[in-house]
Symmetry: C2
Subunit: 471 residues, 2 copies
């Protein structure tokens, strides 16, 4: 179907009244009950409090990863899901030991900058790396640079992330992190420093993954906190040569097997048909992963718990999936897609909560045309939560992205992320940054979504056809 035709049909569909006849009165009553109960409770705050207190940081492949999986199984069994099981996810691991970056220039005292090594970057040789700094406005400027201006130097890319509700500033800014070190390496740089991909002027560096085409291209790369990036820019602006000394300790380890943890409320009529709610259990190593993604774990678990507490059993099955190793490359999501994609016609919808604890303001969905009125009807029940109807572009969240090429139908419950990148991937991602009321609004939204999706008279169209329809 052409995109234009799709839009025309959407336009017509949007003009129709929200179709109360899609759901039974009983199902709608239950949805309203879920919504109201969710708002009366704490949104699963006690879940994220327990996870971040007992486990704290839980980087994929660490001892805390294994403890988090144990914690998850115990929690999900205690809540009373019908089934709880593990699915293995095997991956290479990396861990940070330390980073120490100092800068000096004529007329400038030697100063240490607040930095974090980027994920999977190598250690510096003994004694570190010392070289002149060369600053670029952004990745494009580095790409355009002559190798002679880069060779033997430490590259600094200074571009800033813009703050926005939908987090759309992250994509453009993160290029410097994800591709910059590779480009710098190709031009002969010795190391790389980027401005943190984050919106806060608090003095925390923002870590995250970077990619190298080959291991031989890998070079030490760190992010400096935003105030330190400002400082570096001011030092460069003094016009004298700036020298950077960089020491990073890090270690690659043996392959490790973690697990996606899955729990199911088994459906009464079509148990093989599944509504899948996701979040990821791993975190970066520096904060306690409260917003990223303890909040998501709490939201989907609380949503499912509310449904378990209903008198009715859902017709289709509802699964909550705690993905493993999201931060280091969506590895749990990839393993899940690999294992289940041949059965995607049975998966109704995927929806992952992985954007902190800000309130949901919009529902968007990538579903078959015939299922769009169901999304509209669901939005009608989300409207009292101030959740508007969005469009038909959706990713389902990071861990469902590997499932998109297999045609999984997905829903985004889009959260207000204005402040999310103040904390994301920093030491400062801790429990106190979560507002329980906002968490409850999220749990309400996921409960209503999961319940009505499980009761929908129409399938959402996962499978190869959905992929084609969207291409």
């Amino acid at each position: 179907m052409t995109r234009l035709l799709t839009l025309l049909i959407l336009g017509l569909a949007a003009a129709l009244p929200a179709t109360a006849e899609i759901f039974t009165e009983q199902d709608l009553t239950a949805a309203r009950e879920l919504r109201e109960r969710a708002l009366e409770r704490d949104g699963g705050f006690e879940i994220v409090a327990d996870l971040t207190t007992r486990i704290g940081p839980r980087m994929a492949g660490t001892e805390a990863d294994a403890r988090a999986v144990e914690w998850a199984v115990e929690l999900l069994e205690e809540i009373g899901f019908d089934r709880v099981w593990l699915e293995p996810v095997t991956f290479n691991t990396w861990h940070r030991e330390f980073e120490r970056v100092t800068v000096r220039a004529p007329g400038v005292a030697e100063q240490e900058l607040v930095t974090l090594a980027l994920g999977f970057t190598p250690a510096t040789p003994d004694g570190g790396i010392e070289a002149e700094l060369v600053m670029f406005d952004d990745l494009a400027a580095l790409e355009a640079a002559e190798p002679g201006d880069v060779e033997g130097r430490v590259v600094f890319i200074r571009n800033r992330m813009e703050r926005s509700r939908d987090g759309s500033g992250y994509g453009p800014a993160v290029q410097a992190r994800s591709r910059g070190p590779q480009v710098a390496s190709e031009k002969g740089a010795l190391a790389m420093v980027i401005r943190s991909v984050g919106t806060s002027n608090n003095r925390f560096a923002h870590t995250g993954m970077t990619r190298f085409d080959t291991a031989s291209r890998a070079l030490p790369a760190v992010a400096v906190s935003n105030p330190d990036a400002d400082q570096l820019e001011r030092i460069v602006a003094l016009g004298e040569p700036v020298t950077v000394h960089l020491e990073v300790g890090s270690e690659y380890s043996e392959p490790y097997t973690s697990h996606n943890v899955i729990a199911e409320i088994t459906g009464s009529e079509s148990p093989e048909r599944i509504v899948a709610l996701g979040a990821h259990l791993d975190s970066w190593d520096v904060g306690t992963g409260a917003l990223d993604d303890g909040a998501g774990i709490a939201i989907i678990t609380e949503a499912a718990r509310l449904i378990l507490d209903l008198e009715q059993q859902p017709k289709r099955s509802i699964q909550v999936i705690y993905f493993a190793a999201e931060e280091i490359g969506l590895l749990g999501g990839r393993a899940w897609a690999e294992k289940h994609h041949e059965n995607f016609e049975n998966y109704q919808l995927g929806a992952e909560s992985d954007f902190g604890a800000g309130p949901v303001y919009e529902i968007a969905a990538r579903v078959a045309d015939e299922a769009w009125p169901v999304i509209e009807a669901i939005q009608h029940e989300l409207d009292p939560l101030d959740i508007a109807l969005g469009g038909r572009e959706a990713s389902g969240g990071p861990d469902f992205i590997p499932s998109l090429p297999h045609g999984l139908a997905v829903v985004d419950l889009r959260q207000d992320g204005t402040d999310y990148f103040d904390y994301h991937h920093t030491e400062n991602d801790t429990l106190d940054k979560i507002d329980p009321q906002n968490l409850a609004q999220n749990a309400a939204a996921y409960a209503v979504l999961a319940w009505l999706a499980a009761q929908s008279p129409i399938d959402f169209g996962s499978g190869p056809e959905l992929l084609e329809a969207n291409q």
Copy 2:
């Protein structure tokens, strides 16, 4: 004089109109010119930018301390003060090497806390200290504890600082830091952990001085960031024994001589009579000391520069004093009082800017009764800056406190410190936290104060009599 009588006289004085006849029309015109020019400029922002960029952290006794003194002399000479000179301040030094504090409990993964060693606390023995944690609500609870509950343990005091405009929450909260380690040591504790004395929930620990009666009482003591203090409280609340492992590296060094840096605008009529504006040049080692006290350095210097730019020369001399080693015990202030107190009858007023860069909202002064109308007349010229008349209790700022027992007359230009303790003594005290407009308002206030104090027909009464009048 009794305090009641003083208050009655004050009440009468306050009822009088601001006495325009105290100052000449020419002096008042100049004061207004200073006020307006200050607000058109950047308040000396370029001064604090240059200091924090070129020198960065400048803890007393470090190489950066010496560089800061050189920087100061160069700046003050370049501005064109009539005289610039140094006065030595000698002190013992300490420096931080590292701190690493981990916590664990049954059912709780080992986690590292964000901490900073308190100033002048000793290193832990090789291998660190490992012991059970015992938590107290506040210093009073620790003081009331049986030694048996403390001996051989790591003490944690959890009291929180309250946020307020005038920073009055600091005094009560800081007791746990300044006296807690001594008390814990007396009861046989092995080490001490306090909640940071600060108002932010960002994950920065707050350093500062602590005191031990004798060196043999000294024990390793750290502050944990507020989110980490919350985490520690939650772990304790799980009800299992909590084990802390604490490693601190620190070093005491040989006596070091730094300098108070003083610059003078020499008075035309009574050059021996001095209005003294202060700020301190040293900072803690972890931030760049932008708010504490780069801002003060900028404010007083910009104020004096505005006066230097006037066509008129002040009648009395105006000095700006960059005090050394404030953070480690008001050492520059003590040395200054020691050197100059016999001459305090010539010192008109002391006023230090050392509370960040929030706007001034009130003037208070500790001056002779006959000089109070002058303060009222000065306030009249500060009123357009939204600066109200306060009372007659004032300290002049930390570095003038050692001068109070010698009867120095002092003025407080009280700043809004609502956010000050979000940054104070943390890594997060960086240039971006300063609002140049607020800085300019401060410079305007100090310029008006210094100018009118230099032109006042009445002396402010420094000397032993002032001390007696206030006792």
